[in-house]
């Protein structure tokens, strides 16, 4: 049998294993109803917020998200100009290069390669992460190895000094780094068991020194995407148990210790929404792509949503990052149908979203982004 025959036979045999749920269609109906309810809520909220944004703009203030469900309008000292917002972002582009860009997409600095992309068309491999300190001086980035027995899985964290481009490689063994708002601590995930195993441990530790706390999951659970609350007292993380996903929040102000997630606070993720970190002390960013557009929402611990904006294209589970002041959100989305460059399909786009305003496309293709500075 030739190769294609072997592949076809193997795939048909392997895919056929197991049984399917008898009440599957009923579950489809429930899900569809949930999507419709969520859509109606968000549409109402978008209309309300758009109106509020116009009123706020006339009054010379920007909407921010402080205050959770009871929104407040808070003046920002230096309102951004009309065309190009201030600030810089840092991202890992599709080739694996760490770049600093302005919000109009201009490359300001190139900071070298860290997250190795093992091959063309392999953008999904490893999904590195980047996290910047609020002073814009330091960037922590996944360094994903492409060699060794755990190629693509072995991660360490590199520290990059933006000012001179120098790099401290491998300051921590682990991945998906998130630096605290005060720039003194890192949250990251790692595994405690066999080499190349699932991430089963969230570690929060001082960058300098050993103080820290390790939260360990059960044997069948994994953790992903740690994010700091703006006040630096809590870390949220996705806890994946079998086929279900929970967003939990842990207090990281306690003493150095080993802990489980048993006492973690559960955050309700709205139906058909993916969660991505905090946008304020009480709210998280959510992305929902029910069809050809992506709704950006903020949601609180009860799962109550309020609309922030809509971006074109699908953004299921890609990435979103709120600005430190909560006034903007960066959303990575898919942009299918693009040209092919260096053997890699251009399928990623980055949108800047401001509450109640139209999103703006930022030039460049990234697999991970964070805010470097607002000024």
């Amino acid at each position: 049998m030739n190769l294609e025959g072997r592949i076809g036979t193997t795939l048909r045999t392997e895919a056929g294993h197991g049984t399917v749920t008898p009440d599957g269609w009923e579950r489809v109906l429930e899900r569809a109803d949930g999507i419709a309810r969520s859509r109606r809520r968000q549409r109402v909220a978008v209309v309300a917020l758009s109106t509020a944004a116009i009123v706020a703009a006339v009054a010379g203030v920007w909407l921010t998200t402080e205050g959770g469900g009871d929104r407040k309008t808070t003046p920002i000292a230096s309102p951004p100009p009309a065309t190009v917002e201030p600030g810089r972002i840092v991202g890992i582009d599709k080739t694996g290069e760490l770049q600093v860009r302005s919000l109009d997409g201009q490359v300001i600095e190139r900071l070298g390669y860290h997250a190795v992309m093992p091959g063309p068309g392999n953008l999904s491999y490893g999904w590195p992460r980047v996290s910047a300190t609020r002073d814009g001086e330091t960037v922590f980035v996944d360094d994903v190895s492409s060699t060794g027995p755990c190629a693509g899985r072995t991660r360490q964290v590199d520290r990059v000094h933006v000012r001179d481009g120098s790099v401290d490689r491998g300051i921590i063994e682990g991945g998906q780094p998130a630096v605290s708002p005060d720039g003194l601590r890192l949250a990251y995930v790692t595994y405690s068991g066999t080499e190349c195993g699932n991430n089963d441990t969230l570690v929060v530790r001082a960058i300098e020194g050993n103080f820290g706390v390790r939260f360990r999951t059960g044997t069948e659970e994994s953790v992903f995407q740690p994010n700091w609350s703006p006040d630096g007292t809590k870390v949220s993380v996705l806890l994946v148990v079998g086929d279900s996903e929970r967003l939990v929040e842990v207090d990281v102000t306690g003493p150095q210790t080993e802990a489980s997630f048993d006492g973690a606070r559960e955050i309700a993720i709205p139906a058909s929404t993916r969660a991505f970190g905090y946008i304020s002390a009480t709210e998280h960013i959510g992305l929902s792509s029910p069809e050809d557009s992506t709704e950006v929402v903020a949601f609180d611990a009860t799962g109550t949503t309020r609309a922030i904006g809509v971006v074109p294209g699908v953004a299921d589970n890609l990435w979103a990052a709120a600005s430190p002041d909560g006034g903007f959100v960066l959303v990575l989305r898919q942009a299918p149908g693009g040209a092919v460059s260096a053997g890699v399909e251009q399928e990623l786009a980055l949108e800047l979203v401001r509450t109640g305003a139209e999103s703006k496309l930022i030039t460049g293709e990234f697999v991970a982004v964070d805010w470097l500075s607002m000024g």
């Binding site: 392997e14 895919a15 056929g16 269609w25 569809a32 091959g119 490893g126």
Partner: protein, 165 residues
């Protein structure tokens, strides 16, 4: 046509094979059904609200591929670390008997090592038996890109499989 009735008929006819497709893309068996149900739910909600997709089955299949890819992206390292797609010995079927379990294990291992897009192309072509145009539609890429991915994927798989001989 009533969207619920129309899609329910497609569900009855296609659910097992779409779950199979999702299993091959996801590695994790337990997630496959959830992905397919979500794909049907999104299609149904859209259909109820606006109009029927031109090809409802193709629309659902595209949603399955996108959702599976999204699930992999979200899980990051766990995707490689937690691969659950394993060859299981079970009663031989004529198809399975033609390729032994050890041989299937090697093929699955080789498939798992492919970049995601190449893997999607292989699964759509050789499991779903899609034409190049159908695979391109499901993936939202050009037919030329599908051919390129397939060519590279087969070359890589052949090299890996030959290396085990």
């Amino acid at each position: 046509m009533d969207p619920d009735d129309a899609l329910s008929a497609i569900f009855t006819r296609s659910y097992p094979s779409l779950v199979g497709l999702a299993r091959l893309l996801l590695d994790r068996r337990e997630e496959a059904e959830e992905v397919v149900q979500e794909a049907f739910a999104r299609t149904l909600e859209r259909w109820r609200r606006s109009r029927a997709p031109d090809d409802p089955y193709a629309y659902v299949r595209r949603a399955v591929v996108n959702l599976a890819r999204s699930g992999l992206r979200r899980r990051g390292t766990a995707r490689q670390a937690g691969s659950r797609l394993v060859v299981v010995d079970e009663p031989a079927t004529p198809d399975a008997a033609a390729v032994g379990s050890e041989d299937r294990r090697e093929v699955i291992d080789a498939l798992r090592q492919l970049p995601q897009r190449q893997r999607e192309c292989v699964v759509l072509r050789y499991f779903e038996e899609c034409s190049t145009a159908e695979a391109a539609d499901a993936l939202g890429i050009s037919e030329g890109a599908v051919k390129t991915h397939l060519h590279r994927a087969l070359a890589a798989m052949e090299e890996r499989l030959e290396g085990k001989r």
